[in-house]
C-alpha cells in the first residue's frame, strides 16, 4: 500500500472514539431501526450522588438502545466514559442488567436478541460502593443467562478502557472487540503501584501499560476476538459479524483447563516481557479459532 493511500484512508476515517456513548450506540444499528430506552428525559438519576455533593446525570452515564443489527433484534448498552469515568452505580448497573434480562426473556419467547455492551469504565463508582459492586455481580449473572441463547458482545474502544469489576463482565462476554486505543484489565497501573510499589508496576511507564493492557496485546494473546481501527464503519462491521455468528461452542471463560494449564506453565520467578508473553499465549484460546 502506498503512503498516499494510507494517508487518505486515515484522513477519511470516521473516528468512533470521538463519539459519545449515545452516538456510539446508534452507530452500531441498522440505519433507522434504533430507539433509546430510559433516556435522559425519563430522568432516572443516581439517588446517591447528590447526597455527597456530586452532580448526577439524567441518564446516569448509561445509554440503552434497542433495534436491529444485521436485520436481527439487538440491544446495545453503552457506558459514557466522560461521566464519572464510566463508573458503575446503582442506576447505570440496573439499566444494563435490566436490558440484558429483557433480551434474555425475548430469546426465551423465541425472539432471538443479542446484546452489545460498550464498556468504558474504571469499575465500581466508589460513591455508591457496595451497590456498585452488587450490580456488577448481578450484571455478570445476567450475561451468563443471556449468552446461553444469543451472543453478548463486549466492545471496548477507548480511551477510558475497561477495568475493575467490569473487566470480569468483559471476561464473560461471548466475544470481545477492541481498538488499539483500548485497554482491558482488572487492576489499573496506579492501583497496582499503590498496593505493591513502583517496582511491581511503574504507572508512569506508558509503554509498559500499553504493552500489557492494550488492545493489540489482548488480541495477540487470544483474549480479544477482533482488533479494529478507530473507524466507525469498521467497528460496526465487526459487531455485525459477531451478532450474526451466534454463540461460541465454548465461551472463553469456560475454557478452564486451557487457562489453568497455561498459568501452571508460567515461570513466576521473574517479570515477563509482554512481547515474549505473546509466544506463550498464542491466539489458540480465542473463540474465533475454537469454532
Amino acid at each position: 500500500m502506498s503512503n498516499e493511500g494510507y494517508n487518505a484512508r486515515f484522513i477519511n476515517r470516521q473516528s468512533f472514539i470521538e463519539l459519545g456513548a449515545r452516538e456510539r450506540a446508534k452507530a452500531l444499528f441498522d440505519a433507522g431501526t434504533s430507539r433509546e430506552l430510559l433516556g435522559p428525559f425519563d430522568r432516572v438519576e443516581s439517588p446517591w450522588l447528590a447526597m455527597q455533593g456530586v452532580t448526577p446525570q439524567e441518564d446516569d452515564g448509561c445509554v440503552v438502545m434497542k433495534g436491529k443489527i444485521a436485520g436481527q433484534a439487538a440491544v446495545v448498552v453503552a457506558l459514557e466514559g466522560a461521566f464519572q469515568g464510566g463508573s458503575i452505580g446503582e442506576v447505570s448497573g440496573a439499566k444494563m442488567t435490566a436490558a440484558l434480562d429483557l433480551a434474555c426473556a425475548d430469546n426465551e419467547k423465541g425472539i432471538r436478541t443479542s446484546a452489545v455492551i460498550l464498556l468504558e469504565t474504571g469499575g465500581v463508582r466508589l460513591q455508591e460502593a457496595n451497590l456498585g459492586l452488587a450490580v456488577i455481580a448481578e450484571l455478570m449473572a445476567s450475561i451468563l443467562a443471556l449468552r446461553k441463547h444469543a451472543p453478548v458482545i463486549c466492545l471496548t474502544a477507548g480511551t477510558v478502557g475497561c477495568f475493575g469489576g467490569m473487566s470480569l463482565a468483559a471476561g464473560l462476554a461471548s466475544y470481545v472487540v477492541m481498538t488499539r486505543e483500548a485497554r482491558l484489565g482488572m487492576n489499573g497501573p496506579e492501583v497496582i503501584e499503590q498496593e505493591n510499589g513502583v517496582e511491581e508496576f511503574d504507572s508512569s511507564d506508558r509503554a509498559l501499560i500499553w504493552a500489557i493492557h492494550g488492545g493489540e496485546q489482548r488480541y495477540a494473546t487470544g483474549l480479544a476476538d477482533a482488533l479494529v481501527d478507530d473507524d466507525t464503519p469498521q467497528v460496526a462491521n465487526a459487531i455485525r459479524h459477531f451478532t450474526s455468528k451466534g454463540i461460541p461452542a465454548v465461551h472463553r471463560s469456560s475454557q478452564v483447563a486451557l487457562y489453568r494449564n497455561r498459568i501452571a506453565k508460567l515461570d513466576t520467578s521473574q517479570q515477563w516481557d509482554p512481547k515474549e508473553f505473546r509466544a506463550l499465549w498464542t491466539t489458540n484460546g480465542s473463540n474465533e479459532e475454537n469454532r
Partner: protein, 274 residues
Amino acid sequence: MSEYAGVRGTVWFHAFTGRSSPMHGDPKSVLTGDASLGNEHARFLCVVPDPHGRFPCARHGEVGLEEAVTLATRVREVIEHDKNTIKRPIIAIVDVKSQAYGRREETAAIFLAAAAAADAYGSARLAGHPVIALVVGHALSGAFLTHGYQANRILAFDDDGVMIHAMHKEAAARVTRRSVDELEKLAKEIAPMSYDIRDYAKLGLLHKLLHVENPVKPSQQEIRNVQNELVAAIADARSGPVDLRNRLESTAARETRKASLLVRSKLEAQWLEK
C-alpha cells in the same frame, strides 16, 4: 475495623469438613472438600493465605490467577459429576482480602481467570446447584466477585471482623479525594458506602446475618447452628428461581434499592412499546 488475618476461612473450612489441606494438585491457597451437611453431601471451597505461593502478589489471602482457576476447576467438577443426578450444594466460605494486584496477574489476564471462577459458580447456580456464600471475614471487591457473589443466597456473620466492600478504606478515600475521617462520616449516612456489615444488611442482598460469639474459635454448638442455617438457606435456594432476583425482592431492597426497581419497571414498559 479488624484487620484481615486470613484465619477465619481456615477455621470454618475445618469446622465443616474436618480438613485443612488442599485437594491433590491444587495450590495450598485453595481448600476444597466434600462433607455431609444435613442429609446430603456438599462441596465447600475456601481461599486461604499461602506465604510460599508461586505468585508474589497473591501470598496473603488475595485471589490471584491460580486461586481463581482452581476454584473454577473444582466447581465445574461438581457440575459435571452431578449432571444427571441431584445437584449437590456448593458452599463458598468467603474470607478474602482482595484480588491480587500485580504485573504478572495483569499480563496473564487475571480478569479472565476471575471471570472463569464467577462463570463456574454462576453456571452451577443456573444448573440447579444451590450455591451459598458464607461470609466469615473479608469479602472485598474483585475477590468477592470471583468467589461468592454469584451465590443464590449470601449469609454473613454480624461482627466487626466481617467486611464486604468495593475497596478498602484508605484506597477509597484516596480515589474519592477525601480523608479517611470524612469517608467514615459519609459512610454512616450513606448505607452503600458503609464498612459495617449491619449497614450492608440494609441493602437487601443478604439472606441472613448470623451471630457467632468468637468466629475464630467457634464452639461445637455454634458450628451446628451455622450448619443448620446453611441447610435452611439451601432449602430456600432450591425453592426459588435460579437467578438473583431474590436480592431485589427482599424487604430491605424494596426500601434501599427503589432506584433499581424503578429502572426495571420503566425499562420493561418501554421495551414492549411499538
